[in-house]
């Protein structure tokens, strides 16, 4: 069973659909029109380019190319994490990248080696989309956890100092801040697992069904991906936070100001 291709006229109509939300945004004077148009154009161009690249990647199906692709997207995701979290790329690039790699690669390895077991194990059709899905979610979670953790410490420096004065080690003193950052960053993922299938039909499952898979197969993949996302998210958050500690505190165990990205003037 093959998915129906979308004809060119239908595809063009898809963009016309945007006129309605753009009209509503304009009526509300939100001033988002330009931003929406740029993001739609960027999204379309990026996806087409990636589509062309993936077609090539699937045809060649080389371990080296697949690994290289995953490394590139991990670096891009990592840069985005630090930028959005307001942290200095020069100070925390490596620990944050290591955290993202831990979360993504451990779960991806389990998926390929033990759960899906494609032949070959590095089959681009499985390796690339699964890595992309895990990484995309790790990225969003890590932005939240790193931002909340370090801004929480900066805001409540006195409490942190009080813990050190009570004899806490660095790990003990940051623990309450870490707990709060992880708890609040995981909340959206947990909420989405609670309502999935009732309120929302996930994109991957819908895509698979439209692509011709049986619903039960699609559901199995969806459950796999949800458990994977949750696991990789927790692993990458915990790893990034712990691995960044030696880079973020000085010899007096105080938070270094230079780990925060300099604010743009004006």
């Amino acid at each position: 069973m093959e998915a129906l291709d979308i004809p060119l006229t239908g595809f063009a109509l898809l963009y016309l659909l945007l006129l309605l939300p753009l009209y509503l945004l304009r009526r509300l004077k939100l001033g988002l029109g330009r931003e929406v148009l740029i993001s739609v154009v960027r999204m379309s161009v990026q996806l087409f380019l990636v589509g062309i690249y993936l077609k090539y990647l699937f045809a060649v199906n080389s371990l080296l190319l697949n690994v290289l692709w995953i490394m590139v997207i991990m670096v891009v995701a990592n840069l985005n994490i630090l930028k959005k979290a307001g942290l200095a790329v020069t100070k925390l690039f490596w620990p944050s990248l290591a955290g993202v790699a831990c979360g993504t690669l451990v779960v991806l390895g389990i998926f390929l080696l033990l759960v899906v077991r494609p032949t070959p194990l590095y089959d681009a059709r499985y390796m690339i989309p699964l890595a992309g899905m895990l990484l995309g979610n790790c990225m969003n979670g890590n932005i939240l956890s790193l931002e909340r953790f370090y801004s929480g410490l900066r805001k409540d420096e006195s409490t942190f100092l009080t813990y050190l004065l009570m004899g806490a080690t660095l790990k003990e003193a940051v623990h309450p801040f870490m707990r709060e950052a992880i708890r609040s960053s995981l909340a959206p993922t947990i909420a989405s697992m609670m309502t999935i299938g009732i309120v929302s039909l996930p994109g991957m499952m819908t895509g698979q069904i439209l692509g011709g898979s049986f619903p039960l197969v699609a559901i199995k993949y969806q459950i796999m991906i949800m458990i994977g996302i949750f696991s990789s998210l927790v692993i990458s958050m915990v790893a990034s936070l712990y691995l960044s500690l030696p880079f973020a505190f000085d010899s007096m165990l105080m938070l270094k100001d230079e780990i925060f990205a300099a604010k743009k003037k004006g």
Partner: protein
């Protein structure tokens, strides 16, 4: 006990305080005054390594405030702020928080010791069952002091602690901190507190000056 030797602190390229020299003897009660942003709190935090100094030296006893000594120095000192943060669910958990750390594990106080300390600070033991979030500013401060007594701290850094105190808390805190043999370096604008301290200093334009 605490000595500042020609200390200067700069932040973001601006000199906040300079040439600060001051010795606080064991058991002495010293208070610092000055306008908001004059560097009083920064100076207080520098004693426990909370702010880096740009020149001079700070000593606690015979130990210089440097990375190698900072853990030992922090063991001696309690820091109390205007609104102490309580991070645990109940007051009991907050009071006993240090004993969950490796440094104090196995040294938990007995129920009798806890009761004696609470009594000294005019706190009803029933307070321990209360949610931390429901405690008043004065109750929080007295609990923080109780925690410091249980940890046998000898030096107290107190940053504007009287502004959130009710009358009952004030009596308890004043008599504990200002009538004991503990060393107290504080920041305050409260005339009653200032009047009961042995020496008063003002920070103005980054310079420390003793008031006679």
């Amino acid at each position: 006990m605490i000595s500042f030797e020609a200390v200067a602190i700069s932040m973001q390229g601006r000199t906040l305080v300079r040439d600060i020299s001051l010795s606080v003897m064991a058991g002495e009660k010293v208070v610092l005054r000055g306008r908001s942003g004059s560097g009083k709190s920064t100076l207080l935090k520098a004693v426990v390594g909370g702010t880096p100094i740009t020149a001079g030296a700070i000593r606690v006893g015979s130990l210089a405030v440097v990375p190698e000594n900072i853990q030992r120095i922090r063991q001696e000192i309690a820091y109390i702020s205007q609104e102490p943060g309580m991070s645990r669910e109940t007051a009991a958990e907050d009071l006993l928080l240090p004993f969950t750390f490796k440094a104090h594990s196995g040294k938990e106080p007995t129920a009798a010791q806890i009761e004696a300390v609470l009594d000294r600070l005019l706190l009803d033991p029933a307070i321990l069952r209360q949610k931390s979030a429901t405690l008043s500013g004065g109750e929080k401060q007295r609990l923080v002091i109780a925690r410091a007594i249980l940890l046998d701290k000898r030096i107290f850094l107190a940053d504007e602690i009287t502004s959130a105190l009710d009358a009952e808390s004030k009596d308890a805190v004043f008599s504990f901190l200002l009538e004991s043999d503990h060393t107290v370096l504080s920041i305050s604008h409260d005339p009653e507190w200032i009047g009961r301290c042995s020496r008063v200093f003002t920070i103005e334009n980054g310079i420390l000056r003793e008031e006679k």
